[in-house]
Subunit: 84 residues, 2 copies
Amino acid sequence: MDFITILGLAAATITTISFLPQMFKTWQTKSAKDVSIVTLVTFITGIFLWLIYGIYLQSLPIILANAVTLLFNLIILWLKIKYR
Amino acid sequence: MDFITILGLAAATITTISFLPQMFKTWQTKSAKDVSIVTLVTFITGIFLWLIYGIYLQSLPIILANAVTLLFNLIILWLKIKYR
């Protein structure tokens, strides 16, 4: 694997797992009033478009990274609505 | 411009601008205790790698989207630290 591919995979992995701490924090504190729901819904919409884009391009890294990011952010949105 | 390119540009634009409401919310409420700093720092690290990736690929859309996303999230991180 060349350097650029490794760099892209590292970037995709790190941005994807970055939402785990927010998920666990919201779960534990049962509070998300400071988290913007407009940001969450807009971000989820954009990530959904990235997923469709990846499916069109048949790019497994784009599909995987965005499917997992979508899942994490849907859970954060669900917790945000649940604990408001 | 073909459909896939428009889809990718829409995805990039929407995910990028999605951080504006969080920025303004934190600015206005002067509170970000529910926002995970670990998520912010990890996400910023990942977006920085995406930016380097875009520079290597000489892809203007990847560079632009990630440079603006990086800027917005650095401002959110700064506000988070300022108002803790």
